[in-house]
């Protein structure tokens, strides 16, 4: 069930250039399901910034009633968020949307998880849950440059992890699609989250296989009421049929919606 709760900051750290890792505690954690869901955060009490900010859940710890997010502090809202310290509260609405379908891959099969930039974090919880289930995981994580890389160790613990950077300042030089090709990576199911051009490229190259993509879109309500975040469906690409990223997604099967 979706809840609104003032959750308490239990940890908050800068982990890369402009990138922060934030852990919150509260009852809302008990509602969280598949990895890939997100929360909607109100970062100030007043009316600037007015709207909530959608941020993906990257780790869930139900025992401690804690969950973790990783976000880039860039605009007004995320910069304000980055100033919160331990014991402060954050107004959280969530969990929202539908995550990655863990059931689509079976124990013993191979899952390839492909992340780009700030799309990397939700793949961490996914990888953990897949590993727990006995799935073999491989990761390809793309970043712009050296000092933007984060979570490498955490992923490396779970499975093979290839880091790419656009400028080659760290790891493989080039796009994630190139790395997949060059390393000739094999998989049963692919899960991906990142910038839309990356998703498009992956869909084009690997869309014939089981492929699940997590989308981003500017949001109003985050719960399906305002129709800000719709996309056309794959079977009716210019018609009136639609899916909402916030409540039908953010994870879709390749071909389900028009990227």
């Amino acid at each position: 069930m979706i809840k609104k709760e003032l959750m308490v900051v239990t940890k908050h750290e800068k982990i890369a250039e402009h990138i922060f890792q934030l852990t919150l505690q509260g009852e809302l954690v008990l509602e969280m399901g598949n990895p890939g869901q997100f929360v909607h955060l109100k970062v100030s009490e007043g009316s600037t910034p007015l709207l909530r900010r959608p941020i993906s859940i990257s780790e869930i710890n139900k025992d401690k009633k804690q969950f973790t997010m990783i976000y880039r502090a860039e605009g007004a809202g995320t910069q304000l968020l980055s100033k919160k310290v331990v014991e402060n509260v954050v107004d959280v609405l969530g969990p929202l949307g539908n995550g990655f379908p863990i059931d689509s891959v079976e124990s013993g099969q191979i899952a390839l998880l492909v992340g780009g930039g700030i799309g990397v974090p939700p793949l961490l919880e996914l990888s953990r849950q897949l590993v727990a289930k006995g799935v073999k995981v491989q990761h390809v994580l793309g970043f712009q440059t050296n000092n933007a890389v984060f979570l490498e160790e955490e992923f490396a613990k779970l499975g093979t992890t290839i880091i790419t950077t656009d400028d080659g300042s760290y790891g493989y030089k080039g796009f994630v699609t190139d790395a997949i090709k060059d390393h000739n990576l094999q998989f049963d199911t692919m899960f991906t989250c990142g910038p839309t051009p990356m998703l498009r490229a992956l869909e084009k190259l690997h869309g014939q296989k089981p492929l699940f993509l997590s989308l981003e879109e500017r949001m109003g309500c985050g719960v399906g009421a305002c129709f800000a975040c719709v996309c056309h469906t794959g079977d009716d690409p210019t018609g009136t049929s639609y899916k909402k990223v916030c409540s039908d997604g953010p994870v879709f099967k390749a071909g389900e919606v028009v990227l």
Binding site: K42, L50, L51, M219, C221, V223, F227, V230
Partner: protein, 311 residues
């Protein structure tokens, strides 16, 4: 102390979600019992299904937001058979928002939707800033608005409220023309037309380029227009524009609104409507009122208490 009677609408309380900010209620029904609401202004219906505008459709501004949804909806027939039928499980009168790009469209939708059991009033959306064809002209030219109002009044089975655009030089002139044309009430205000440009791209953030500005930023404009119009017409006004809390509601009533709709604030706090409804009686008491109707038009009425309004 919260009940209020308006043409077609016998409301438990004067609080309702504004059109387009609450879908058809399904999403918020997961948060609370919709029967708590005074009414629901459902999302605009058009004759045919509409996908609406390309994304991005929203952008944030200081104390406000821009939207250019473009009247996405499944068409009036599906709204009636699926959405209104679903809403019947709740004890709440519906105000159906009607949109179109020509008079015939409005007439078609109004005639059909006004016959649904739970639709107790129509809200003519003559002011949507996000639709290219026609739309806006209905909201800025008094004669055109009057003509449309007359045509819809002829076919509607329920009272007709007309939603005013704030993007005009003379809101009173517009309101009077619509009153003279037979409207049963007014709702105001719709969004101001605005734009935001991306710093890096230099281009409009919203795909549609311009969007409708809503939220706290526009409240002073809404209050001013309701203050002016409520003194010039004798039909009731449902006020909206930037309402976030119980004090804002009272300010709208003071200005001359008889009921108040909450739009953008639902996105910030999905519980905003029931919270306001819960807080309203205590706040009215604190301010010395025994009934919500005593607030209506207090900004311009002499000190005498307003009689309980009944239509």
């Amino acid at each position: 102390m919260l009940d209020i009677n308006l043409p077609g609408l016998s409301l438990k309380n004067p609080i309702m979600p504004a059109s387009g900010c609450f879908g058809f209620g399904r999403e918020y029904s997961k948060f609370y019992d919709l029967s708590q609401l005074g009414s629901i202004m459902i999302k605009a219906s058009t004759q045919e299904p509409r996908f609406g505008n390309p994304t991005p459709r929203v952008a944030e501004t200081e104390a406000g937001m821009l939207n250019a949804i473009g009247l996405q909806n499944p068409g009036v027939h599906k709204v009636i058979s699926e959405e209104l039928a679903w809403l019947e499980q709740y004890d709440v009168p519906i105000i159906a928002n009607v949109a179109g790009s020509q008079i015939e469209d409005y007439v078609y939708v109004a005639e059909k939707i006004s016959q649904a059991n739970n639709v107790h009033a129509l809200e003519l959306n003559i002011s949507c800033p996000n639709v290219k064809t026609g739309g806006i002209a209905f909201g800025t030219i008094p004669e055109v608005a009057a003509q449309l109002t007359k045509a819809v009044k002829e076919v509607s089975a329920v009272p007709v409220y007309v939603k005013l655009s704030p993007n005009v030089a003379n809101i009173v002139e517009m309101a009077k023309a619509i009153e003279d044309a037979g409207a049963d009430g007014l709702t105001m205000i719709n969004t101001l037309i605005g734009m935001r440009l991306g710093l890096k791209t230099g281009k409009p953030v919203i795909a549609n380029k311009t969007g409708g500005l809503s939220g706290p930023a526009i409240k002073p404009v809404a209050i001013r227009m309701i203050y002016e119009v409520s003194q010039a017409v004798s039909i009731p006004i449902i006020g909206m524009g930037g309402v976030q809390n119980v004090d804002d509601v009272i300010e709208f009533l003071y200005a001359g609104a008889s009921a108040v709709a909450v739009g953008t604030a639902n996105f910030v706090n999905p519980f905003v409507c029931p919270e306001i409804i819960e807080q309203l009686p205590a706040r009215l008491n604190e301010l010395g009122f025994e009934h919500v109707t005593e607030c209506i038009g207090r900004s311009w009425k002499a000190d005498a208490k307003t009689a309980h309004y009944s239509s």
